[in-house]
Amino acid sequence: MAIQTFHLSKSFGNYRIFEDLSFEIPTGECFALFGSNGAGKTTLLRILATLVRPTSGSFTVLGHDGVTEKESVRQVTMFLAHGSHLYDDLDAQENLRFAMAMRGQYPSHRALKVALDQVSLGAFSDMKTRNFSAGMKRRLALAKVILAQPQVLLLDEPYNALDEGGVQVTNQIIREVTQRAGMVFMTTHDREKAHLVAHRTGLLNRGLLTFSHTDQHPAHDIS
């Protein structure tokens, strides 16, 4: 199992978001989570990314406990959040190199170029990211995933602000992760786009999570 949760619950102070969530997502699967505004999708992702501690319950990522073995979880996980995590005064390439260095990876100049080309930012590799448009920042974040090749990929509304080309690149990256037995967990409101890649979808509603399958077939058998 790529992710397993056990009776996960989260409240902010005294405000309960969800309670007693137990589910598992096998490797090789892309899972898309839907849910109305304020349902707690982002909060769940942030817990899985070890950014927020669950109020109670526990979870494992590729067998590592999410609370006690954070470092191992972080080693295999990557989370693309709403923020693009860019430094405005560095250029696109420098941003990528720094982000990779923080994961202990040191990609070659060529690898950087390939990744930037893949997200169609090749022409902007020496431009400060300060004035990148909303979509260009998202694309640069995608380039990080291409370089880092994480085994577990968490995406919060990945299609936001992306044009059609961007959506295609995203879906291609997702397929690539699942094909090498990785796992993708995304939240989105865009069912059509998600259905193109997700093997399973879930709905978070009143703190309950219900699952359904899509037409896609998991890249690998569920072990």
């Binding site: 990314a49 070890t50 950014l51 927020v52 501690r53 954070k70 470092e71 972080r74 080693q75 996980t77 989370f79 959040a81 709403h82 923020g83 693009s84 995590h85 860019l86 430094y87 405005d88 005064d89 560095l90 420098e94 720094f98 982000a99 260095a101 923080m102 994961r103 202990g104 400060k128 920042k137």
Partner: protein, 225 residues
């Protein structure tokens, strides 16, 4: 070793950003300039008192200037939620602390070295003989400030009213550094024999060691969830 490389990259990132925007250094310098002007203005009428208090004035200016730099250090990590990325990366957090701390130390030292001639100029100081010793004192005291300061910069950046909470929390804790720095600077400026103020330099060293270790250890708790 990964640990050292992370330190390197964090320092590199801060230096490059600074070279591009020149934001931190220029604001520190400008702010310091104004503080010095205000001081020299309010002591204009009393040259003797100024001579008496010069070491104190120097360090009050350095401390406030340093706080400007420290505050910027982590608020730069807020752009596009970059701090979040550091938090959820498998980077050793201690290395991030040391990297940020070294960057802050560097910026503060650069500004101090640029400001000191101004003090010499404005307050008619005699040219100092023991300039090497003075630089050592600057280094030790600034190290102490940036050791605690980097920790508190990371702490306050994640709360409301951060520009204010940083000095509010940091200044009281920095009192030993300030006293020791003022006293040893006074000693060096007045060309007193070293033995008279050597214990202050010792105190600075002890403070540096203790608080670098403690902050290094506590930093993880601040970046963590």
């Amino acid at each position: 070793m990964t640990f050292l490389r992370v330190i390197q990259w964090v320092v590199w990132k801060d230096l490059i950003s600074e070279m591009r925007s020149r934001e931190t250094l220029s604001s520190m310098l400008f702010f310091a300039l104004i503080v010095i002007l205000v001081f020299s203005f309010s002591f204009a009428m009393d040259q003797d008192a100024a001579q008496q208090l010069i070491a104190g004035i120097i360090w009050v200016s350095f401390a406030f200037t340093g706080i400007i730099g420290l505050g910027k250090s982590f608020s730069a990590e807020l752009q596009n939620d970059a701090l979040e990325y550091l938090q959820m990366s498998p980077t050793p957090k201690g290395a991030i602390y040391l990297g940020k701390m070294l960057g802050n130390l560097l910026f503060m030292l650069v500004v101090e070295v640029m400001l000191f001639p101004l003090f010499v100029l404005f307050f008619n100081l005699n040219i100092v003989e023991e300039i090497g010793l003075l630089l050592l004192i600057f280094l030790l005291a600034t190290l102490g400030l940036s050791a605690v300061g980097t920790l508190f910069s990371a702490l306050t950046v994640q709360i409301r009213a951060r520009e204010v909470m940083l000095p509010v929390l940091l200044l009281p804790l920095a009192i030993p550094v300030m006293i020791a720095a003022v006293e040893s600077t006074r000693g060096a400026l007045n060309a007193q024999p070293l033995t008279l103020y050597f214990h202050w330099i010792e105190l600075l060293t002890i403070f540096d060691v203790i608080f670098t270790v403690v902050s290094f250890w506590l930093f993880e708790l601040i970046l963590d969830s």
